[in-house]
Symmetry: C2
Subunit: 208 residues, 2 copies
DNA sequence: ACCAGTATCAGCCAAAAGGTGGAGAGACCA
DNA sequence: TGGTCTCTCCACCTTTTGGCTGATACTGGT
């Protein structure tokens, strides 16, 4: 059989060379291109027509990973995209899967896990790191906690530290509406104060 | 001249191999050992006696990077430690420099920057990525913003989303005292509400 | 001995946030 | 068409927060 061609997308030089070295040890996997940004990724995917795109979500500047995935899925639907990132934030996982990612690996994944994901991806199998899978599972299990788009927007602004009045101005809605949304958000997040909402929101959105 | 020996410490396999590949291109730099945790780092430093230790701060489990730096500085003071990490949080930078780090690089640093840091470190020069340097500079320029230990403790609990009453109970002080501390914290952080304080606190402590 | 910094507490008042209950409009789906 | 979801808004009331002023006490350094 012919070997699996892969394009790497990551703005960290060291991560790219690390992955390249790692994947290079496998006879059936060949890195055919690299990119340091979303824009470059689209180019590289077009030019090299790889079987798999291994992509970091956090790109320093320009198009972010999620947007890049969407574009890739549109332009070259046959290429499988695997997310390879440092953090397992709920929002990122859901958005990546939504955008059409075939797998979701964390950077501390064991080499074998990475190889398995690449090989699985070309066969249409989706592979994800254990912590990622459990997060995703929780999301599905608990649909009550899913915020509406408007609520999510509000919550995101909330984490900037804005007051109700400011939130209203920013979103062109009355303070009353802001309070209504907030009440719903608190209920869904299981908190009672905006302080706690901010805390859980920020922690859910990354790190940990 | 003899080449500079380096030990790499990072819990991500790909980052280690990437760095190794990158440093391997330089004739005067040789990677003599690797470690995936703080504990392993101490061992490797002892065993290989490198000139430079390149270390990530975030280690999945066990001893964290800061603690590892402190121990290294004590045991093998001649070895220069360079921090090589993803994020430039104020707290991490200050603590790392405090612990005795000779340099502070971000993972998106250009290869040349990394080489320069390694070469500089053995000569006693400290090299840090531009964003890191500017952060550090701000810290020094603005001593007003340094929180007292008690205030920092309060702020940290604040980010859990506690109310003033709860904060008082947790710290065994009256609500009045809590309010006093909070007022001071707000002034130092340059915010007016607890929501904004939480937001800036969490963002300063990492990510972004 | 004095001063600066820190930590503790109080009271008062205005502003902001949260709780409750209700309501209309548009979208979407069965 | 009827039901559900989402977004929008309102009024009333209680609780929480923040701003202000002032006070005591312990510490460490000059």
């Amino acid at each position: 059989m012919t070997s699996i061609s892969v394009v790497l997308v990551d703005d960290h030089t060291v991560v790219r060379s690390g992955l390249k070295a790692l994947l290079g040890t496998q006879a059936d996997i060949a890195v055919v291109g690299e990119a340091a940004s979303g824009e470059e990724a689209l180019e590289a995917a077009q030019q090299h027509a790889p079987d798999v795109v291994l992509m970091d979500l956090a790109m320093g500047t320009g198009m972010d990973g999620i947007e890049a995935i969407k574009q890739l899925r549109q332009r070259t639907p046959k290429q499988a995209v695997i997310v390879f990132t440092t953090y397992d934030s709920d929002a990122d996982i859901v958005r990546a899967v939504d955008a059409g990612a075939m797998g979701y690996l964390l950077k501390d994944a064991a080499p074998e896990e990475i190889f398995a994901a690449v090989r699985g991806a070309v066969q249409g199998k989706s592979v994800m790191s254990a912590p990622v899978a459990s997060r995703l599972f929780q999301q599905l299990r608990n649909p009550d906690e899913i915020l509406t788009p408007r609520e999510a927007e509000l919550l995101s602004l909330l984490t900037e530290g804005l007051s109700n009045r400011d939130l209203g101005k920013r979103l062109f809605i009355s303070e009353a509406t802001v309070k209504t949304h907030l009440a719903h958000i608190y209920a869904k997040l299981g908190v009672e104060t905006r302080a706690a909402a901010i805390a859980t929101a920020i922690r859910r959105e990354g790190m940990r």
